[in-house]
Amino acid sequence: MYLYDQYDQAMVDARVEEFRDQARRRLEGKLTEAQFTPLRLKNGLYLQLHAYMLRVAVPYGTLNSRQMHALADIADKYDRGYGHFTTRQNIQYNWIKLEEAADILADLAKVEMHAIQTSGNCIRNISSDHFAGAAKDELVDPRPYAELLRQWSSFHPEFNALPRKFKIAVIASDTDRAAMRLHDIGIHIVEHGGELGAAFYVGGGMGRTPMIAPCIKEFVPLYQLVTYTEACLRVYNREGRRDNKYKARIKILVHEMGAEAYTKAVDAEFEHMLGQGIEPPFAELERIRTFFQDPPFEEDANGEIDRSDPDFALWVDRNTVSHKTEGYASAVISLKPVGGIPGDATSDQMRLMADLAKAYSFDELRVMHTQNIVLPHVRKADLHTLWTALEEAGLGSPNLDTVEDIIACPGLDYCSLANARSIPVAQKISERFSASGKTEALGQLKLKISGCINACGHHHAGHIGILGVDRKGVENYQLLLGGSEAEDVSLAKITGPGFDEAGIVDAVETAADVYLREREDGERFLDTYRRIGMNPFKEALYG
């Protein structure tokens, strides 16, 4: 994985001191809260319902064991012994003190980590495929391109006060595991005539106006990747709406201008910028790539798995994914125990995951946007030992991509923007399906819950989505069906009137039962919904 050189380290260290100075000025009253807010947000520091919250960047979701240990230590030293892994492949802490925030950033900098641009109206942490470098179906590892863009976007002087936040995802396989087309810019590394390049999808997003990004450029050569991205951003910075916060994302600009006119404006800016010499030397991309070489896989690793223990065999079937190298697998550690809080991990669990990564996965971990953790490169021969250790720590839930593997935002239990609680709904749904035993029969069923219209819980992209709203001071939950964040991307539709907390759990089960009744061979929930449409579900739900 990528390692800092003295330049990267100097920049992160400078950022710590800058924030220390800003926090001091705030505490001394030299900065008002209105002036301080954008500064703290650019360091990932929010003021939430109970305290300050710190969001730490995990660039493209990749961590080593030393970094995971540092995250655990921060949870103990500055927080309450746990952290929350997010749908942006980051981690956030819920009980942070302003007077200690700079010290946390300093601790992070010691392990080449930071909270730079994890919030605010700037280019956010770049996300990517959580199986990058391990996936059988990838063209190349997408992370070098994400890292190049991380560097380019860090402290970018022109784009530090964009109309709104800006999220970029980079993938390099036809299977989309990063919700690429639901980003402000989705970059798909492709090959044309033996040359690598980038397809640009611009103007996707969730939030209150969900949109699927159109492809605005099918092929940008890699030696123009940064220049083209910069052109996309400059058009947005100049033309994006600033009169209404809810219409300020680039998806609205692309939609209002039309993809064709936006592309034309970007192309004109790009032509101009080609003469400005802003593209990094190609040698930089080559340097970054050297950090993402394959680890020393054993050439004749034993591919046999002893399946005599049925619980282990179930976990292997559900939570491991085939690897590009014979004899290896990617193992998903579920942070979705039945009745648990999706994405939360205690400091002890973090340390265990770190140690297991060191022992069995070439020292690498990944954070998934589905709020689970991946050990990307595990010898199949080690899977049983790994699973045994996970089971003992409550991390062995065999439920990847099932109805129990729920994405949920922090919701009204933590978040000041939320209208309703998300976590209790997730807990009750996982308990309901675990108890009824239907999880297995339902197969792949992606359920995603947001506690407000901002859609941090990706409800638009759920096979089943749930949106919490405030109805006259009472929590109410809308049900959505038919979304997907993957390569078969689609936006979920609302079924009808909302439900109370108990009602939404019943409603999910009702929808699941319609699928079990109507499905044809090999169909997932989503496939059945697409074939039969909304009506059979509506009838079952509302009679």
Binding site: L39, W152, P157
Partner: protein, 148 residues
Amino acid sequence: MADLSFENDRLIRYREDDPVDHGAVTVDSFLDQSSASAVRVEPGDDARELIPHLERLALVEVNFPSFGDGRGYSSARLLREAGYEGELRAVGDVLVDQVAYMRRCGFDAFDPDAPIEESDLEAALSRWPEVYQSAADPTTPIWNKRHG
């Protein structure tokens, strides 16, 4: 920092020449007529409209009515990219935490609504040891340093 000069309580310039002695006009009136050599660019103005007239400009003020409106950063860079060498002054809600970004986008003067303390300014401008990316300033980006 040697060329720093505080013209009055608020105006900060990083230029050797004398400041223009008359007020700036709007982009529209500048384009319409005018012998003016100073113009003020508002966030919604298209700075590119000035490009055919750069020789007769000695001062471009770029207004930041609110620090959160970042259009002025693009206006500044566009003008520098087009070869403008006159004074480029950020005016309005210009805060010390933005001046380093503004310098990188080509601003060489600041006229903030609220005065900026000299010590804070020095700290802000000497904060960053390096830059990652190219902009309107001559600083060599990290990735060029890495590769000679």
